[in-house]
Symmetry: C2
């Protein structure tokens, strides 16, 4: 296949012009250009690199409404959501500009020489983080802007000083193309080499495999299915030089309803939960797919309210017909598990629309069947009724790694929450109270990550400023002359605004 077409999510019909399918030749060329651009790009000063990120933000806004319209057609997501997502995308680029300027990411360290030290003198040692090299970024279907072409992976890799080759998601090639053009304009406007950013697109998985296999690619950012993330990780491990894959894969995001909160507002929690469950047709990595609570009247009220809300839920356009199919199969599998009761199904969808579904089961049944813990991507959730705190703790301990865990709690639940916290910390990347896991703030203290299989690498996050660390590695310089040292490690750079650890003591810029 040499050409393919974009598909309207709502109708499943192709639209727009035929698009070129990138193949192995384009991958090799893009990686060669990225590699050639690496040294020039990583040598940019902090201010220059920050200005480039800000320019990308401006260029994306300058596309105007045609970007929103393209994304609406290709994803089926509503206007307000996509306008918000554009704001998030632009805000994320600006946050990384600020991070780049402040310079803490460089992790500068200086251990001055000690020529008189006994029994041996200490040499002068200095350390900085350098970017790892060209990075492959995989666009995600469910966030055509904020986790795609100019999303968090791209922004953090560019902030780190890494050229980026994006493998655009084939579900939104027009949207991705518009954003790619905006970045390309920013590259040109800032006088950077073309290889700093490149965009490849095509409907086959072979494209991504070729990209991850290319020896010039030094790290990978991915958001998508568990199967996809694991496949890329295997390719990356089998290379002559293995590379890290930061894959954010699957999570069912347990929500714990603690007894006092449930007693006080079980019904209100039930309605609010369905709002989070059905948002964006449930197509969020942080969708609440698992409710855990201890039997009681409060839980009955929650279940009754949630059942009512789900019954009234309208079907929503899903991102692709393939995702709609997988959702239907996942729902079918879950409804067939022994001990699972279907509490409510929203209005039935069709081949492009998915309806909401709510299940319930006992703690015992859930413990007996690992399959109930697998992600069903879409607006499906299961309530697990535990008979007591001990059973709740066993269910938690048996869970796979997750992106988030949510506690609904009142002051009187605090001692139970404190007992559960160490267990939750070992299972998830983010613990939140009295909210819903959907809605991931882009900030400094965010962790959008977590133990396997939520991600392939729990040492990091794909959202928030800490994400820049994924694309950096340390280099140490010993007894280098001032003129040969990288500029930020010279004595003359002290006071440039970046913090430094000098002889073990942290000094602000």
């Amino acid at each position: 296949m040499t050409e393919f077409r974009s598909v309207v999510a709502e109708t499943g019909q192709p639209h727009g012009e035929s698009l070129h399918v990138d193949g192995p030749a384009e991958v090799a060329q893009a990686c060669a250009k990225a590699d050639a651009a690496f040294d020039a790009y990583r040598a940019t000063a902090r201010e220059e690199r920050a200005g480039f990120l800000e320019r990308i933000a401006e260029e994306i806004l300058a596309i105007g409404d045609s970007l929103i319209e393209a994304a609406m057609a290709e994803s089926g997501l509503p206007r307000a959501r996509l306008e918000g997502e554009r704001g998030r995308t632009v805000g994320q680029l600006r946050m990384f500009a600020d991070v780049v300027r402040k310079g803490q990411w460089q992790q500068l360290r200086i251990d001055p020489a000690m020529p008189e030290r006994q029994p041996l003198p200490r040499p002068d040692l200095r350390l900085r983080m350098i970017p790892v090299g060209p990075v492959a970024v995989f666009g995600a279907s469910n966030f055509p802007l904020a986790f795609s072409t100019a999303g968090g992976d791209t922004a953090s890799a560019l902030a780190a000083g890494c050229p980026v080759v994006v493998k655009g998601h084939p579900a939104h090639p027009i949207t991705g193309g518009l954003v790619a053009q905006a970045i390309t304009r920013a590259v040109a406007a800032c006088g950077l080499p073309e290889g700093v950013f490149q965009h490849l697109v095509g409907p086959s998985n072979d494209l991504g495999s070729a990209l991850v296999s290319d020896p010039r690619i030094m790290a990978v950012g991915f958001t998508g299915s568990r199967g996809g993330g694991l496949a890329l990780s295997r390719i990356a491990q089998a290379r002559d030089v293995p590379i890290p894959v930061y894959a954010e894969m699957s999570s069912i995001n347990p929500v714990l309803l603690l007894p006092e909160a449930l007693k006080a507002r079980g019904e209100a929690l039930g309605s609010a939960f369905v709002g989070s469950l059905t948002m964006g047709a449930g197509q969020f990595c942080t969708n609440p797919g698992l409710i855990l609570a201890i039997e009681g009247e409060g839980l009955d009220a929650f279940v009754s309210a949630a059942t009512g809300s789900v019954s009234q839920a309208k079907p929503q356009t899903m991102l692709t017909a393939g995702i709609r199919d997988a959702y239907a199969k996942g729902v079918e599998a879950l409804s067939g598990c022994p001990g699972v009761e279907t509490l409510a199904r929203g209005e039935e969808g069709d081949r492009t629309h998915g309806g909401a579904v709510l299940f319930q089961t006992s703690g015992e049944a859930f413990l007996a069947n690992k399959a109930m813990g697998h992600e069903v991507f879409g607006a499906s959730s299961i309530v697990v009724r535990c008979k007591d705190e001990a059973e709740l703790a066993r269910v938690l301990a048996g869970l796979e790694g997750q992106l988030t865990a949510t506690l609904h709690m009142d002051a009187a639940d605090e001692s139970l929450a404190s007992r559960l916290l160490p267990v939750l910390e070992r299972k998830v990347g983010r613990i939140l109270a009295n909210g819903w896991p959907t809605g991931v703030e882009v900030c400094h203290a965010m962790v959008h990550g977590g133990p396997f299989p939520a991600t392939s690498d729990p040492r990091t996050t794909s959202v928030g400023s800490l994400a820049i660390d994924r694309f950096l590695r340390p280099v140490s310089y010993q007894n280098l002359a001032q003129d040969v040292l990288p500029e930020e490690l010279r004595d003359s750079a002290i006071g440039d605004g970046a913090p430094r650890l000098i002889d073990g003591t942290l000094k602000l810029g």
Copy 2:
């Protein structure tokens, strides 16, 4: 086999009592205890954990001379070297105590709530690093103290809050046992659970495989051969939950003799080089196994002096007969490569002693044969004579990842050094000038790491305070009540001495 004996390196003869061989049952028991100890250990306050590390240092010193004597017998290394290594081991534990106290490793971040923000309020988000869980540490044969039972991996993992299960190196079981007893005394003296530190030993690789396979182990530290490191990485990747393996594996540590330095002091450099090459029978990860220079009189003088010094070198006891065998085979393979000339062989060793060897070849021949770039663990090195700067650059670009690169240079070499620096940064973890790569300072700005296959993970270091980051991962807390938050993230903890990133601005403690 249920018992084995320690071997005297010098004679190859067994000595001491029969030692118990740990097997699968001991692995399972140790991992269960480590896991059970994890929550209590990670909850220790910074001061308590720092005191524990200092107590380990004291207990090791309290063993007295019997530790040095055991290590001398088992490793064949001389007293002064081992006394120095003990100092390094103890200093490293104290450095990590200081690091733990200062608290920067926690990477505390607070993004306060913004209830009035439009279009949506911002929740309160706080982040800290938590330890990953029980860590498996593999003792290294070549540093029976500083990279073994209480070495850098153990010290950094304990500093991070991770229980440690050491797989002691079978080449020094008596030394390892003495150190393990010292740590166990420190555990008891500090009132910590027994599972915080455990020591397993046995001559078979199955022990290490079982340890890395155990689902309770969450990370691995290893220093040793490429084959060993890759085998452990494969086991770790094949687990239901893959875990990171920090393996420091192989490096030939290129030394670049730049033209002006070579002209000024080729002869002196030749003699000094052989001092570094033969130190510790060449059994250092940072041994200078590759000399790169451009043809000329200076290089002739260097080669002539080095040849003379190597010819006079005495054979030295190697760590084990197995290492001695592998060394002989590596030397044989290198001497048989087309285009390789043997410049000098030191006095011949026997089955426990290795002699020094120096080879030379042309840039062209080296480029044509990847095998010349493989590590020969021991006092073997090869001089690569490049015909010009372009060929030197090609040789550098063709090298695999390395721990170090060394530049011998004068002021007039600075512009060449600056041109080479970006290439070197992509190849190595540490770049040093006018010294020798052996001698790795334990400090804050050290990187003892580097691109594959020098290590399995170039994002980190196994020496120096940055090594603690290997055993940490971030967790984010959203809208948690002050009483439920981890103590260091509460408002009341601000001012406790640890730095915090508050709303993106770094504040000292």
